[in-house]
Symmetry: C2
Subunit: 377 residues, 2 copies
């Protein structure tokens, strides 16, 4: 699956092939995915599930970039209890490419940590940060976008974020307001960022979409040294801790320090910690078809639908039912007279909720966590 | 469980203890119970399920009458493929007490057949016909009702039907309009029947309840010879067939004839075939608390409810859900924001439908029967 020769044709706009050796991917795989209970569990988060065609979400993410970033330059940031699963699912990745967080501390510490690992390998490296669980329609265009952004980033200290053109006033994403042109690379316009907005109210979301704002995809491209320098400015405590950590060249010693240090770091997102404050931040508007698989409804949007708008993955029989989402294994799920419900069937638990309530699955998981039913987590 | 001495105290109004030896029960257990899919299956109909406290519905039915009608005088009419299950669940019943129908032919042939079996044992026998799957609250009162009715029936050729005082305009039952007093026995008023009505429209049902009509419980008490004589008058073909069958005193020969004869009998209910036409039909109004367990909703009415009116048998977690009915085994059923739905979870299938659609489960079963999913029946 990995380590194939890079097929140049899949990246026709890649103008500086000599740069390829210095582009690394960092895949953020530490998420818990509680919104996908009962399919996702404590020890099997969403990114390790096979919920779309091909492999699991993380396998698909690695395979998607493989033509432009081969496996030996793909790093995975994840939790200790996900390491075994990740090794099984990504057998071609070198063991040293798994960066294990002792505890989750949001994206800024994870990205800071990865940037240092990369800088040790190549001080001039460009770093592509990708979530583990996104789905992308036009993968060829996506790779061309990465190539263009890496080329642009390699020439300066700019921080590039990929922006997605919204098709609805989604309240579950952050928004980016684009400003004037910064540069054109490989025919793509990189725009200055006027401002970031955190997940908005429905009203604000509608206004943002109206004004041409873009969704914040959580995909970033920059030189590893550029993000290191921005962390020094905007998150000096994190920067100092990483300096301290990487001063120790002994692997075992560093691992010990990491376990000691990491839990004391502030849990902050890279958006809040750096992007919203930094200068030289640009956005590249993209239209390769993006789905962040953030809820059962957004996942089901990728499945085939029957004549009554029911999306079924597995075995189901429906009578006079419409707009339902069913995921089942070997068992038969039978719906009679149901509208717009989600049914997720697993060997030890079944979830039933309206499609409009799919964000509330997290509440249920929290309820289970504090109850005697936590074996189902 | 069976064959205990009859405790006289449980039947204080039993005035003619000498009659006890001639009262037989006939339990109608041939039903398919498709309305309880996926818990009930082709080879495990409702009456063989443990869905209320105690044993299975048929075990509870036998245990309920045991203080007044011991096991050796309890006959079970059922299909060939239910015989093994019935033997397992009712190990104390003599094998000869199972009357096996080659095919289902509704209640008139079943009752006719049972009446002949009883007449061979005791020409003066009184026969109590009971469905296998009813639930009764006040079992002591129920037994006293049976005793009073058996006493009344033993003295004449009257056909007694137990009538239930309705608490709602149910469209799933037949109705009986009571007329003037026929007799008082053990302090209970037996009333002449003015007319029977089949399952009514909602409008008619409301009018019937308004007029004091009673539900037809499907429970009958009469002398075996009385029903034989009524069949002669009102269903002469069935009567002649039974005459022919019972002329053969050889067990094996009779069984062969039965297999040949039975499928050719007209499938008619005893209500339509006899009760609606016969003279000397009386109804005994009863108030012992009766539930015919005809649907998931009526069954769930017997279960404990939580503060949000959810009836759960098994393991379930509900978040902001109300009026739901859940039956599960080992698996966890989790409901978020659901109102008035039924969830029936079994090892190989799960049913989800609104409580108001529980009568449509039969449609689903028919759909499965003609599909490639008939292994789930």
């Amino acid at each position: 699956m990995f380590n194939k020769a890079v097929p140049i044709r899949t990246c026709s706009r890649w103008r500086k092939p000599e740069m390829q050796e210095s582009v690394f991917a960092v895949i953020m795989a530490g998420g818990r995915g509680t919104r996908f209970w009962p399919l996702s569990r404590r020890d099997r988060p969403k990114q390790f599930l096979r919920v779309t065609p091909g492999g699991t979400l993380i396998q698909n993410t690695v395979a998607r970039i493989e033509p432009v970033i081969p496996a030996d330059r793909v790093l995975i940031v994840l939790g200790e209890d996900q390491r075994q699963l990740a090794s099984q699912q990504l057998p071609d990745l070198p063991h040293t490419n798994f960066i294990v967080e002792p505890v989750g501390r949001n994206t800024a510490p994870a990205i800071g940590l990865a940037s240092r690992v990369i800088l040790e390998r190549d001080p001039d490296a460009v770093m592509v940060v990708l979530p583990a669980d996104h789905v992308i329609d036009d993968e060829d265009d996506f790779r061309q976008v990465l190539c263009a952004a890496a080329t642009a980033a390699s020439r300066s200290d700019v921080l590039v974020v990929l922006g997605i053109r919204p098709d609805r006033p989604e309240t579950g994403y952050g928004y980016i307001r684009p400003g004037g042109l910064w540069e054109i690379e490989a025919g793509r316009q990189f725009l200055k960022v006027e401002r970031f907005a955190e997940k908005p109210s429905r009203e604000d979301a509608a206004a943002y979409v109206e004004q041409g704002d873009l969704w914040n995809s959580g995909m970033f491209i920059w030189r590893a040294s550029a993000i290191r320098d921005r962390l020094r400015i905007h998150m000096p405590a994190l920067h100092a801790a990483l300096d301290d950590l990487f001063a120790d060249r002994n692997g075992a010693g560093r691992a010990r320090r990491l376990r000691d240090l990491y839990p004391r770091l502030e849990a902050v997102s890279i958006d809040y910690g750096v992007m919203e404050k930094a200068r030289e931040v640009v956005v590249l508007p993209c239209e390769f078809g993006w789905n962040d698989v953030g809820s059962w409804s957004s996942l089901a949007a990728l499945w085939q639908k029957d004549d009554s708008d029911n999306a079924v993955l597995g075995q189901a029989t429906t009578v006079n039912s419409r707009g339902c989402v069913v995921h089942s294994g070997d068992r038969l799920v039978a719906l009679v007279d149901m509208q717009n419900v989600i049914v997720i069937d697993t060997p030890d638990a079944v979830l039933i909720c309206p499609t409009s309530s799919d964000q509330k699955v997290r509440d249920l998981v929290h309820l289970l966590a504090i109850s005697s039913l936590d074996r189902h987590l």
